[in-house]
């Protein structure tokens, strides 16, 4: 219980600190034109976007996957234009650039989940065997 309170305290302190830093960098960027720190913060926001979408659309896998991809494309598109990632006239490349990166990330995640699924199924079959043995020994 004490550990849980301590952990919650650390998480909420970190969250508040992050929020303060975020606003400081936003003010720096928009009022004093210091975009370098803002870029770092926005990269963190992009990384957190996927978790936020997953949380919001927990039970809708297809919609969440499409939305996740759309958000990544839109963010890359906006930032690409703002920070000149693409040459003039070839902004549409963002749709192509994003696909291999997204696909690689998606496959890595899928491999991890497949491993977890196998592990759980093995444990469940062991559990079933134990239950059968218990029932037999009780009889």
């Amino acid at each position: 219980m004490k550990m849980k309170i301590f952990r919650d305290y650390i998480i909420s302190s970190l969250a508040i600190s992050m929020l303060i830093i975020f606003w400081v960098f936003c003010i720096d960027a928009f009022f004093y034109n210091m975009w370098s720190n803002f870029k770092v913060i926005m990269s963190i926001v992009i990384c957190l976007m996927q978790s936020a979408i997953n949380l919001a659309l927990d039970n809708r896998p297809i919609i969440s996957m499409l939305l996740e991809y759309a958000v990544v494309v839109i963010l890359f598109f906006c930032f690409g234009i703002k920070f000149n990632w693409y040459s003039k006239g070839s902004e549409w490349f963002v749709f192509i650039y994003t696909i291999p990166v997204y696909a690689a990330g998606y496959l890595l995640r899928l491999i991890g989940v497949r491993k977890d699924a196998n592990y759980i199924n093995i444990k469940l079959s062991e559990r079933k065997k134990r239950k059968v043995q218990e029932t037999e020994s009780n009889n």
Partner: protein, 154 residues
């Protein structure tokens, strides 16, 4: 296992378990006895029913309403999902997505879905979704139970 019943009108209800070693069977017995004190009330068309926690398959929160699913019935609960999780987590109930908790005892198998989610098939054939965030909790629970049996074999 012997069961000794002693009638004593002076004392409160008391259960004493005498064991040689703390093993999975003793743990299960303790859990079953403790579960008698946990009262989960569900209502079906206004009629309230006290549910046996081991009859509950999963509990889901939909649009801020909590529903309890048994093998073939659905009950409404006045409690919030997190309150029910607090009451039931020591009896093998784990959170599987942000709006659902499941009784691990009724989990039959899991299958990978796209977008890093798992489809859990329950013993009555129903399916529920397990999201990636909650997979470690299920693994931890299954590991903990397996450890108890392994210790028993030593």
């Amino acid at each position: 296992m012997d069961i000794i019943l002693v009638e004593d009108k002076e004392s409160d209800l008391e259960v004493q378990i005498r064991y040689q070693i703390m093993n999975a069977q003793v743990q299960q017995l303790i859990q079953r006895i403790k579960s008698v004190d946990v009262k989960i009330v569900g209502s079906d068309n206004g009629e309230e029913t006290v549910l046996n926690i081991y009859d509950i398959f999963y509990i889901e929160s939909i649009e801020r309403k909590t529903f309890i699913y048994t093998k073939d019935q659905i009950f409404r609960s006045s409690k919030k999902l997190y309150q029910l999780l607090d009451e039931l987590k020591e009896f093998g109930f784990v959170q599987i997505n942000k709006s659902c908790i499941m009784n691990i005892d009724v989990l039959d198998s899991v299958k990978t879905l796209f977008n890093s989610k798992l489809k859990a098939t329950l013993i009555n054939g129903e399916n529920v979704i397990i999201t990636r965030t909650y997979i470690p909790a299920i693994k931890k629970w299954l590991d903990g139970e397996a450890d108890l049996y392994e210790n028993e074999n030593f």
